[in-house]
Subunit: 202 residues, 2 copies
């Protein structure tokens, strides 16, 4: 394993960026190596010189993005005020839906297909992280700071509502009337009232 050259680093990055765009827009089967190569500004054989196969590109992109994707959840602070933490998490997830919709769609595509390349992540890293977060939420509920709800379903609800604005963007835009970026702001505001009031201890 030699240290990669400058050209290698550059081209791998270029390819990964192009692949993200194409995979997110077309799905794995819909994406073609030619299309990725073209968007990366190089020939197909050259692209395959860096990543041996279409599968390899796909997996590399998936892996590269995973950490960024899970970062917001990791930043959740167990010591913080629950309402503040949940609001902040919603905001962060909403920002990601706005600023990185392709990443969201890539993962959505993967899930829809049954996560053939992520089953290990789901049952490993992701599961551990969710389990940990669920424990934090349970603690908040036990301390009477939020209503006693099922933590995992709460997490699912936060994921689905926020990612919806990226994955179903066409629908959201179509139904709201085109509004610049206002939908993300309004959506975040709505979700914060929904979750904060919905989780208030009684």
């Amino acid at each position: 394993m030699n240290k990669p050259t400058r050209i290698q680093t550059e081209n791998r990055a270029k390819i990964a960026a192009a692949a993200l765009e194409v995979f997110a827009a077309e799905g794995f089967r819909g994406a073609t190596v030619d299309a990725i190569a073209e968007r990366a500004g190089m020939s197909k054989p050259n692209l395959l010189y860096y990543f041996g196969s279409k599968e390899a590109i796909y997996r590399a992109v998936l892996e590269r993005l995973l950490d960024d994707w899970l970062a917001p959840l990791r930043e959740l602070n167990p010591e913080g005020d629950p309402a503040r933490e949940i609001a902040a998490y919603l905001d962060r997830k909403m920002e990601m839906a706005r600023d990185y919709p392709q990443e969201s769609r890539l993962f959505a595509n993967e899930m829809l297909r049954g996560a053939p390349n992520m089953s290990d992540v789901i049952s490993g890293e992701l599961k551990a992280l969710v389990e940990e977060t669920a424990e934090v939420i349970r603690g908040w509920a036990a301390a009477g700071k939020i209503a006693p709800v099922d933590p995992k379903h709460l997490i699912f609800a936060i994921w689905s509502t926020t990612q919806h604005y990226a994955d179903f963007d066409v629908q959201v835009r179509g139904l709201l009337g085109d509004d610049g970026e206002g939908r993300f702001h309004d959506g975040a505001a709505f979700l914060k009232t929904l979750f904060l009031d919905g989780l208030k201890p009684r």
Copy 2:
């Protein structure tokens, strides 16, 4: 336009069922006409005798399902008690996620690709239905029966949270631990407390 024969009716139905399975599992590009034909128990040329092209099958399936898909929203009763109506809508959507996950995934795939075959529906039929429902919700809020929230974002939240259990089924199952069908029941219970408490007038 002659009346279709018995064989035509049967075979069109067989094809539509097979196509739904394949398209939902693989996406439009990932699905092959051969695969659909095999699952429908006939040869590829025979299938193409009934539907002239892959696109035609896809669009037929999409159209055939649309009404069923929107039925729950249509059943919402403007005169009813808001809390009851919303709870019932959540339950119905959750049942559909459990009983018709393929339909959900088919639509999710279509949205992810930018809804190339549904833009007219979104800006037409669906938009009208949503606008109408939003008006109902606004009425509830004006009457002080629920908190004054943005109706469309509320609708998005209901859609996304419920459909999540179909579209991201692998993830949900992986993170909850396989549980038979309990996740749908628990999810529905959580969502009802979330939405009903979250929307309580204050």
